[in-house]
Amino acid sequence: MMRFRKDESARVPFAVIGIFLIFISTIASINLNRLDIKMAKTTSSSSEVTSADTAIQYARADIARAINYAGMDALKSIGETPVIRQDNNSEYYGDPEEFNKNRVKGMINHTLNQYIEANYMHDAFAHDGYSINVDALRSWKDLEIEPVRMKLNRSLNPPVLKPGEGYAKGYETYWKISVPLKVHIKNLDTKSELMSEPVTMETITTSRYPLLKDLADEYSQRLNGGNAAMVETTAFAEAYTWARGYMQYAGYPENENIVDNEHLAQIVNGAVLLDQGFVFNSLDPMSIVAFVKASGQKEYKDISLEGGSLKIDPMKDAFNSTGNPARAEQEFNKVKQFDFNATPVADFINNRTLEESEVSRKIDEISKSVYSGSIKTIVSREQVVTSRGKHADHPIDRGIVGTNSISEPVKDEAMSANITRDTNLSPGVLYGEVWKVDWRLRHKWRKTWTETVPCGESTCTVTRHHDMITNDYQTDTVTFKIYAVQDSYYEQVLNYAKTRQSRYNDLNNAFTRQDVKMYKDLNLEDVPESYRSNYFTADIRRNYILQFGFTDPNGVREASIDGFYDAWLKEEAEAAVDDIRNKINDEVHLDPGINYVAYPVPSDLLNASKEDLISKIERNESRYVDRARYMTGSRYSSAGAKVISLVREWYVDEVKYQILMKHEEASEQIDNEIQNQFKGNTEDIKTANNDAVKFLSGGLKLPVGFAMEAYHVDENGTAYPEEDINAWNESVTLSIDQEPDYLFMDASESNKELITLGMRNINIFGPTGLPVLPSMNPWLAQFNAWQIEVQGKINKFEVQDVDDEVHPNAIFGHEAQVYVRKNQPAVIDDLTGLPIGKNLPIKFSFTTGTFILVPPGKTIGDREGGVSEESPYFGKII
């Protein structure tokens, strides 16, 4: 060895190198393998950690499914037996809404505990060396339910009262269930618990029970009161009333009664189905069959659906009900075009058959007033003293102490010749006279002086006087002028225009005779003369002159003097009115669009016709009045022209006014009658009649399973935008099963269960109807109405969700979620076996009415069996 060390020959045996190689290889191999194994172990251990995570992930996914199963099962149960009226002693407190939610919580709690016991206890859920155990739930009260809301786009919608309008925030469609759980993770090798923590699991229950419930509730609401079914019933009944009523009006006796319960029963069934179709976009197919059979048309196998729906035409059915559909349609259209025009009113005002027609009275009134003038006399006196008596030493004037005429008043004949007329027709002199008279005036004068007289021991000064009378001589010139204060005064009161205008002093050449056509119009010419002869006699004037004090012009009598007008005036005025009436009757017609279809409430029809007629008269009013024809410049050509013009003006206004008044009164009369009969339902019924027409204008369908689109909405009912993660939509197709398929109002005693409809119709104005006579004249129309009272019950109503058949079924794979309303006096709690409340069938009642308005001249109404018709079980259905 020492030599080996000391060997300097650099010779190393290969064997030594080889030993080194083996040594190094061994070390390298050991380290590489150790590293490899370590890395593999590291990988493997991370996989072990992952195993626990995976186990919990699997468990969570499965528990969510279990919650869904439990939730679906609960919803299946409450869908089949919802509690509508809760037993307040039950542990599930709250209103029915909350009560049923609490039931669901209770059932989920119970079912989930079954799943937990079977699948998540005793290390039953094991994965890769780890088990997941879950504690049993303690109380259903720990569970939470949060609704997921959606709105529906329906394939079929009504023209009014669209379903969903009352659900602005959307329908509750799904429920999200939150369940607090305590989860334990256990290592099965070491038997040690790795983790124990509370976890709240949330999942959306895939059953759409909440949607079915909301829709059934909405349907129930729509069947009751002044709601959709009432409107739809009104629509069908309206069609029957018109079709049968106008046939009767046309004189076809086969329709003795216009409205009867037999037809109403079909109508109500139709309305119930129609609204079912609108709400659910689907209805019970057997109800379609029963409905068609009830109308005596077809059997099951012969009924043909088009595109999955049965088309119905209420108007056609109504025509068919008369037994003579072609004629019924013809009469329906004929009366629809009836012209409720201005003629009755125009004729009524201008009715010559009356002892004193309105027009005649008005012509007289205007003529008398226009042919009159107000005249007065103005007197002026000029006094000139022609000589005075001498009174040289009597300077003090003690005034006139006496007068006496010393001559008769002298009329200056020349004066009258100088009178000129006022051609401007402004108040002017019509006539004048000047009178003279001499007077002797006894004029007293005085003189005074003083005297001193003894006054006791002194003297006093005394004033003395002396009077003397002298004669003065005076001449008075008295002028009389007759003035026209006002001529042709008339206060034109226009009722429609609501004006009151004084018309006077507007005659051309007043007080002067005028030639008008072939007539002579005195034009107040006789008025001044008449005044003079009454108020301007010679004695009067003499007395005026001799009695001083009449110098004040206002003191002279003013008088209104009626002039004379000839008979032609009235004839001409009446002819003018006739002319206008004829024009109105010829030219003013009701818009064809204003008819009972457009305005099914007669009062509305009359109001609409009023507006239309008045507007049409107004459009032609200036032509009817034709004022220019009676004017010369800005003045009436004569008093007669004024009379006729004023009469025309008044007549046109009065026709408008009377149309307004008569139609309004008639409308009010009808409204009052409706109000008296329908009381608080009046507005609903009127609205229903108006809305009902919209159902008759388009084709109606009874659908079987039309697909709707539901879309997710936020808490405000707003759809999420497409890009939002919450946005989704899905289809909804429903099926309905109702019992009975057809609501019968009458049946044999043994089959009472099927009698689910009560009907009463009252023909309010009997067989004749009510003449619409505002202020007793004119007879505008004949009116009748029917009050229709409906009570109904659907013994069983089941909505089925047929495109989300969520519930597992051991034979059919799955079956639909249902929501059932039926009579179930004691709903039994699945958990406790105790009764917790009642399920109730859908019941409904409403009152509506239909109206008919026919032209005057005939009566309209039911003619058989009295005014009231009541089905056998009316009042006992609900």
């Binding site: 030599r3 080996f4 060997d7 020959s9 010779r11 045996p13 290969f14 064997a15 080889g18 190689l21 083996i22 290889s25 390298a28 191999s29 590489l32 393998n33 490899d36 990988t43 991370s46 996989s47 995976t54 699997y58 499965d62 528990i63 499914r65 869904n68 199963y69 439990a70 099962d73 079912t111 079954q114 799943y115 016991e117 079977a118 005793h122 859920f125 994965h127 895939t206 197919p285 379609i288 099951y300 196998k301 009924i303 043909s304 079987v704 399973g705 197709t733 099926s735 099963d737 089925q800 047929v802 495109d803 989300d804 058949e805 597992p808 079924n809 051991a810 034979i811 059919f812 794979g813």
Partner: protein, 393 residues
């Protein structure tokens, strides 16, 4: 000689080896290579990584099958049977419109696991005497559509790289070949990566551990009395241990049989019976559309099930559900006896050992027995197994 050689070899300073030296060197190099080979060619890490990845992939896909939802899934059921029930009305447009709604099944937002579990729950398959008998003949379209849906999904997820096999197996009585199966994919090779878990079944038959305890308490009746007495007897009469264990094993078997009878009866009562007795929504829908048609449909289905059971050698009872119940019970008990005989005996021996040696109390003994028997009933869950393996290029 040897010495000389050693001297010569050591003293040789010529700088090159002898042939013997070279020979030794080559041997040692070879040994070194052999030592290094495993380290150089070793792929423990790679294998582990690949395994881990494949396992993760399998786990991930399985998880998506549990969580992933199919927004729209549809199939049809019993259309032909409804037509038979409709008779002359089958051509009516009213019938046709409504039939589409009744026979067409639409499901929304259900997970793949739901669809598979619901399908398995409605098959009512019995493997017996080497045959597969499916009582519910209405599920063909559902199963076909489900398979297509699952295939499409799995192909999309991993079809470009992996082959797969998915099975959902529902065995309401553990290890007894009755229940339902959903299966897609190719046969599973040995090198496949398999991931498995349990999924909850739609049925939640009211069958609790307490029920099992009740059944055991009433069924377990050995010549030594109840469980407590029988195990106490082990301590008292050690010499007769074989006999006592045999009695205890028989008692456990009796309890298992009682439990199976009860569970199957309950399961049939709560699932099939109401439907075949013409209850339920579908029958109601058909009855509404075709008055009395639902009953005809139900009778038609019952008749065909009865006929199938008869062909399989079942004892025909008054009602089809009685026949199903009886047949399932008999098959289940027979299969359990065949499969679990040794397991039960071993369990009893183990328990006896522990009890005799005071390793466990009688309460723990009972608990073990309860758990063993309760665990044999698995109405509420199925097993889902996903196997994947890489495609060979």
């Amino acid at each position: 000689m040897e010495f000389r050689f050693k001297i010569n070899f050591c003293a040789d300073t010529r700088g090159f080896s002898t042939a013997f030296d070279v020979f030794l060197f080559l041997i040692m190099v070879s040994i070194s290579a052999i030592i290094l080979l495993p380290a150089i060619t070793g792929n423990t890490q790679i294998i582990s990584a690949v395994e881990s990845k494949s396992q993760k992939q399998s786990s991930h896909v399985l998880l998506t099958l549990l969580n992933g939802r199919v927004d729209e899934f549809g199939y049809t059921v019993a259309g032909n049977e409804m037509d038979i029930a409709a008779g002359t009305l089958r051509d009516s447009s009213v019938y046709q419109a409504a039939k589409k709604l009744i026979a067409g099944r639409e499901l929304k937002h259900r997970t793949f696991a739901d669809l598979a579990a619901d399908n398995a729950a409605a098959q009512w398959v019995i493997y017996h005497n080497g045959k597969r008998v499916q009582l519910n003949f209405l599920m063909n379209n559902y199963t076909a559509n489900l398979n297509t849906t699952l295939k499409n999904y799995l192909n999309r997820q991993m079809g470009d790289r992996y082959n797969y096999n998915l099975k959902v197996v529902w065995r309401p009585i553990v290890n007894v070949p009755i229940g339902g199966d959903v299966g897609i994919g190719e046969p599973v090779p040995k090198h496949a990566y398999t991931e498995s878990t349990y999924i909850t079944m739609p049925y939640h038959v009211d069958f609790t551990r307490k029920h099992v305890e009740g059944i055991i308490d009433s069924s377990f009746n050995s010549s030594f009395g109840n469980i407590t007495s029988a195990f106490d007897e082990l301590k008292k009469a050690g010499a007769n241990r074989t006999v006592i264990e045999a009695e205890i094993s028989q008692g456990v078997f009796d309890s298992i049989n009682g439990t199976i009878d009860y569970a199957i009866e309950k399961m049939v009562q709560e699932t099939i019976e109401p439907i075949l007795q013409a209850e339920g929504t579908t029958i109601g829908q058909v009855n509404n559309l075709l008055p009395g048609g639902g009953d005809n449909l139900s009778e038609n289905i019952s008749g065909r099930i009865n006929s199938t059971l008869k062909d399989d050698g079942a004892d025909i009872k008054d009602t089809v559900t009685d026949t199903i119940t009886s047949y399932l019970q008999s098959v289940a008990k027979e299969a359990t006896h065949d499969a679990a005989g040794d397991e039960i005996k071993a369990l009893v021996t183990d328990l006896a050992d522990m009890y005799v040696n005071n390793a466990i109390s009688i309460e723990e003994v009972k608990d073990h027995i309860y758990t063993e028997i309760f665990a044999r009933i698995s109405i509420n869950r199925a097993q889902v197994i996903l196997s994947i393996w890489e495609k060979r290029v």
